[in-house]
Amino acid sequence: MTRPRILVTGVGLITALGPDAEACWSAIVRGKCGIGPVDLFDVSPYVGKVGAQIRFPLPLPRLSRADQRRLSRCDLIGLAAAEEALNDAGNPVRDDRFGLAVGAGAGGMFDAERYHERFVKDGPGTRAPLRDLSSFLPDATAEWIGRAFGLAGPRVTVATACSSSATAIGIGADWIRSGRADRVLCGGADALSRVTWGGFNALRAVDPGRCRPFDRARGGISLGEGAGFLVLEREDLVRTKPRAVFGGYGVTSDAFHMTNPHPEGASASAAIRAALADAGIAPGDVDYVNAHGTGTPANDTAESKAIRAALGEATRACVSSTKSQVGHTLGAAGGVEAAVTVLAVERGVAPPNVTTSEIDPACLPVDVVLGEGRPLAIRHAVSNSFAFGGNNCALVFSKVAP
């Protein structure tokens, strides 16, 4: 059975760098950094005081006023990127053949925290408004997107922390391959929250300044928020100019530790190899890797080893981490970084690592892009997403033949 080719026809992106894909991309290639002061909640007790907070007003989606009152910050962020992706794809027919696969992280936590704080202070008899809990379950963002845009095909929410949205994109693509859907809106959204802020600080995994992926002096992550969505379509149905080819994906588990990656990156490397095999692409033909690149000492060393093991010691692929510009957007990271990877492939520019000054020798000889975007003819690109629980997901995107 021949598998249908899948094209990326729509991209939607919202991060601290801007409200849409063009604004984000233009800031990315110019080497801007969206990591700065955070005032969404009180960060003064913590070592980490900077993050990539979205500081412009979030647009209100086309839902009734009653629905709008129930939306969490994460829902608003997700709905914005979902709408952009659908518009970018030329708004193809939305019916029961249009799937929706969404990755979630903290989701509606920021809003639920407001309720729970009242619960803790007032006791269980609290009269705090229930609407702050309406998006507490991780699938809420997907349900709102389905409702707002009338997507009636297969629907799922992946909740594997920082690899959620990358896995959602893979699962969505499989629906097209197996004939369960013709088109899929896939990606993910996430918002900053007190729980994740306190949690990563408690783990001492946060850089006091801006995160510096692959830098010798890197000290941890910088948290961020955002959303990234793609529209994938079966090739024979595509009516617009595609941005890239979706090649394949791979998912594995470290089965090693809840928060630390396996130091040799063995399963991460297996995920990249599985994605390349799924796409039918030789490791030597990969020109760009959008790394998970969190900026923690453990991740970046292990990931460099995983990349070299999967692509070969002689690989000439350029590597960068978008987290140096938009922070670690947790449940959204896979979608945000897939969107950036698609634009990099389409436009022939490898995005930079903007905060890194001296590359850690332990991460060499991976070719890390510094400063600004580097013009590069990208035939094939890999986007990595790894997560708590030892989850690894790699996606492969390729240039559309001219």
């Binding site: 913590y46 729970h116 309406s134 699938d139």
Partner: protein
């Protein structure tokens, strides 16, 4: 089309621990709910929930490992080890997938973590607790405990989370992304979920009585139901016993709000699409393993009347309660029903509220099973199970 079979099941639910004890418990109508300990409840809130009977965690997990686990992690590991032993699975660990449907997994740990943030104004967050706040902690802990390095993911689809995991596992097997999958659902009891559902008016104070005139809400449960799925050819090759075949599935998505169900017609359409994909005629369906939970009864009944008016109907909610990922336990009941050729009864059914062939006492199963999972937010899933022979 790739044929998929269930070769093992691991269950922790109120009626019993392990496939056989669980099934005996289901046939006997379950052990009933019990008072929850250690929660400060809102005045007037129900105290009854479905809890898993005590079991010796040390049989499955080394004491040193237990302190890193919360209850969902323990449930995942015990259920998976029961399922893997039941299937006598001995495959390369990188070819085994783990697909967990998580209802409210991690909510207890998350609210505990946040409570301490609130009480200490952020000055003393608990680093030990944070890793278990993510919904995929159970699946991660399960991988660590078993060494399974294959495809690993966690899905959330409120009340259909368990079914969502099973159908993804079936897809992964059909795509060749794994050679076996441990898939199903895991639910924990959390005071926050209980509090929220009580405030939304969804909980009964007395009993969970699906399809009964006196049904006045549901009751929350903790549970885990994990099924080992394999391609039929592979199972035969290794001489494994197939308990049941997952013959097909269907789904429907409607534009419902989070926490609201879609229309009954969507549930009927999911069932019809599952039958079409499985190549099973409505007249060959002997039992509907319904999602009715004491809240969604009218909707579930309407869907069955539309799609399978002549099938016998019961719901495990009367003996197991409702967890958002109870679909894993529901699947265990489907698999047991096929393997034992028996339809289990609805517990607590006194006065049927619907014109359906509701099962009051266990009876022989002669035909296929349709399992329905209903998520709020508008997702319905139906799975067709039958004997593989």
């Amino acid at each position: 089309m790739t044929r998929i079979v269930a070769t093992g099941a691991g269950v922790l639910a109120s009626p019993g621990v392990g496939r056989e004890e669980f099934w005996r418990g289901i046939l006997a109508g379950g052990r009933g709910p019990s008072k929850v300990a250690g929660w400060t409840l809102r005045p007037g809130a129900p105290e009854l929930v479905f809890q898993v009977p005590e079991f010796d965690t040390k049989t499955w997990i080394a004491p040193a490992a237990i302190r890193r686990l919360d209850r969902t992690g323990i449930f995942a590991i015990v259920a998976a080890k029961l399922a893997l032993a039941d299937a006598r699975l001995d495959l390369p660990l990188h070819r085994v997938a783990i697909v967990v449907g998580a209802g409210g997994c991690g909510v207890t740990t998350t609210t505990g973590f946040h409570r301490r943030l609130v009480e200490t104004a952020g000055t003393d967050p608990n680093p030990m607790a944070f890793p278990n706040t993510v919904p995929n902690a159970a699946a991660g802990q399960l991988a660590i405990a078993t060494g399974i390095t294959g495809f690993n993911t966690t899905l959330v689809q409120t009340g259909a989370s368990g079914e969502e995991a099973l159908v993804l596992a079936a897809d992964l097997l059909a795509q060749g992304r794994c050679d076996a999958a441990v898939a199903g659902g895991i639910d924990e009891l959390s005071s926050m979920m209980h509090h929220a559902l009580h405030r939304l008016g969804g909980l009964s104070r007395t009993a969970c009585r699906p399809f009964d005139r006196a049904a006045d809400g549901t009751m929350l449960a903790e549970d885990a139901g994990l099924i080992v799925l394999e391609r039929l050819g592979d199972a035969k090759k290794r001489g494994a016993r197939a308990l049941a075949e997952l013959a097909g599935y269907g789904r429907a998505s409607s534009p419902a709000r989070p926490l609201a169900y879609g229309p009954a017609a969507a549930a009927a359409s999911a069932i019809e699409s599952a039958l079409a994909r499985a190549g099973v005629a409505a007249s060959d369906v002997a039992w509907v393993n319904s999602a009715a939970n004491g809240v969604s009864d009218a909707r579930c009944a309407a869907a069955i009347r539309a799609a399978l008016p002549r099938a016998a109907v019961s719901s495990v909610a009367g003996s197991c309660g409702e967890g958002l990922a109870i679909g894993g336990v529901r699947a265990a009941a489907s698999v047991c029903a096929v393997a034992e050729a028996t339809i289990p009864p609805v517990a607590n059914l006194r006065e049927p509220a619907f014109e359906l062939d509701l099962v009051r006492e266990a009876r022989p199963l002669k035909g296929a099973v349709v399992q329905h999972g209903a998520g709020t937010g508008g997702v319905d899933l139906a799975i067709v199970w039958r004997s593989h022979a």
